[in-house]
């Protein structure tokens, strides 16, 4: 197997403050990988570095191509969809306009309509609300919209920053089920950042644990889930 995403010696900075200290990890083609860590560990920073939204050094390769020095929008156009922390919803626009924006960089304009219908099949509630202003959706609905918007890119890789944040447990389960389905059926590789370690580990095949800007542990999701330290610090039993 070849790595779809290959991150080496990644260091990221907020002004003078260094947030990542030589991070290294791989994401295999077709994998659903999770990055676990406590508040402030550097999860969001990692995702932001991949999309060049923050100053960083080191090397990030996607499909063998270096991403350094590429602008955020051109990285996205390579097929990396990023659902940011806070969801990034265009709240003043309608649900459908949000979906169209997800596909705004695509050239195959004729196929976009069909894809919107596919999103409505994944998330029926979005269809009911397609003319509604996105800001009026509930938190869970907005998260579904954010995932659907990202999928409208027809990405090769999807980066998700704490999709469970602020959602009721039942809704999180639903959402994660859909993510698993998208990963298997639509062949979208997924990197999901989570504080909700238990659910993330059930869903993922591979896991990394990040602490103060460094990877401190890696393995299959099962290995990590059964690790003594992880159980104590992240799973709470």
């Amino acid at each position: 197997m070849t790595a779809l995403l290959h991150v080496k010696d990644l260091r990221a900075y907020y002004g003078q403050v260094q947030a990542l200290h030589g991070l290294e990890f791989d994401l295999q083609e077709g994998s659903l990988t999770t990055l676990l860590g406590a508040n402030g560990a550097g999860k969001t920073t990692t995702l932001r570095s991949i999309c060049n939204m923050i100053r960083s050094t080191g090397s990030i390769e996607f499909e063998g191509k270096k991403l350094d020095n590429k602008s955020t929008e051109s990285i996205v156009r390579l097929g990396i969809a990023h659902v940011p922390q806070g969801r990034g919803t265009f709240t003043t626009m309608t649900v459908e306009e949000n979906l169209q924006l997800g596909a705004i960089s695509r050239k195959d304009i004729k196929a976009i309509g069909d894809d919107i219908e596919r999103m409505y099949a994944h998330f029926p509630v979005l269809k009911q609300r397609h003319t509604q202003q996105a800001g009026t959706l509930s938190g869970g609905e907005q998260q579904m919209l954010a995932v659907a918007r990202a999928l409208m890119l027809r990405p090769r890789l999807m980066l998700l920053d704490e999709p469970s944040f602020g959602l009721a447990p039942l809704i999180v389960r639903d959402l994660f089920k859909i993510l698993g389905k998208i990963n298997r059926e639509d062949k979208v590789s997924i990197l999901v950042v989570e504080q909700n370690a238990q659910l993330a580990l059930e869903l993922a095949d591979k896991a990394y644990v990040i602490e103060t800007g460094r990877i401190v542990m890696s393995g299959t999701a099962d290995e990590i889930a059964n690790n003594e330290d992880v159980r104590k610090s992240y799973l709470g039993y």
Binding site: C51, M53, S71, T72, E73, S74, V76, R77, A81, H82, P84, G88, T89, F90, T91, T92, M93, E97, Q100, L101, G102, I104, S105, I109, Q133, G135, T136, L137, S138, R149, L153
Partner: protein
């Protein structure tokens, strides 16, 4: 009563000038999130370009079309050369940039075409419109052009992909980049469109106020007033705001004793401030529904 109706009609006719300028103001506000104080000067310069082409013998509509293209490209060039390098600078730096641009364009126009007033033709003629003494065919044409422009802008923003991308880039630049929108070019495009709309405003205003380098000073302030009254986010609001300001100005001038031409400008400024205090989003600005 007849005096009142007449004054309202005349107000709508002048209001069309402000409405047209306000459209350009809203356009740039959408793109860069603040006002461009040099917008009037850009419009004035475009109008001189049209005038020059007509002096060289080009027919009106040919000069009109070429001026549109010139202004669109010129707007983009100004953004790329002057304001893109300032993208991360604080607002005050931008304001300084606008003032510099204002001064440069004004003096270049003065040097090239001097400060004597010039006649600028109207494509609609200047006979009474439908026999009315208060509104001329030119003013009627101007109202028509403003409304057509409004409809075109509405269609552009609502139904085209570029329009959607521009709105996204204006409201949430970071999210816009994350769906692959080149926000920097969207700003340049906004400048181009604003300059083109401004040039239309200039060419329509010139037959009324005469062409000279300072022709847009007052008009731009009224354009700002109109845009603020209507809500800076809404093209429709800007146009309605333009007509309202025109009517308001006329009525105040007619019915309140002592308000001559000199006091009209302070009234526009008072109007801006009143609206900003009472209804910061303008009469037609979007109130954003937010749910946390």
């Amino acid at each position: 009563m007849e005096l009142f109706t007449n004054q309202v009609l005349a107000g709508i006719a002048t209001g069309a000038i402000y409405a047209c300028m306000a459209l350009a103001v809203v356009m740039i506000y959408q793109a860069i999130d603040h006002l461009n104080f040099a917008q009037g000067e850009m419009a004035m310069f475009s109008t001189f370009v049209a005038w020059q082409m007509m002096q060289w013998g080009m027919p009106y509509w040919g000069a009109f079309a070429l001026t549109l293209i010139f202004s669109f490209v010129g707007g983009i060039v100004i953004e790329r050369a002057l304001f893109k390098p300032l993208a991360k600078a604080p607002v005050l730096t931008h304001v300084a940039g606008f003032i510099a641009l204002f001064a440069i364009i004004n003096s270049v126009a003065g040097l090239t075409w001097d400060f004597t007033i010039k006649q600028f033709p109207s494509p609609f003629g200047s006979s009474p419109f439908l026999g009315s003494q208060l509104i001329s065919t030119h003013q009627a044409g101007m109202i028509g052009v403003t409304l057509v422009l409004l409809v075109l802008l509405f269609i552009f923003f609502r139904y085209t992909r570029v329009g959607l991308a521009m709105r996204a880039a204006a409201t949430l630049p970071e999210s816009a980049r994350l769906v692959g929108i080149n926000t920097s070019w969207m700003i340049a495009l906004g400048w181009g469109m604003a300059a083109a709309i401004g040039s239309i405003a200039g060419m329509l205003i010139a037959p009324v106020v005469f062409l000279e380098p300072n022709m847009m000073g007052g008009v731009l302030i009224y354009g700002f007033a109109a845009a603020v009254v209507g809500g800076l986010s809404s093209p429709l609001g800007a146009v309605i705001g333009g007509f309202l300001v025109g009517v308001f100005e006329n009525l105040v001038g007619t019915y309140i004793p002592g308000v001559g031409n000199e006091l009209k400008l302070p009234i526009a400024l008072a109007l801006i401030i009143t609206v900003l205090v009472v209804k910061p989003n303008g009469l037609f600005g979007r109130t954003i529904v937010k749910r946390v």
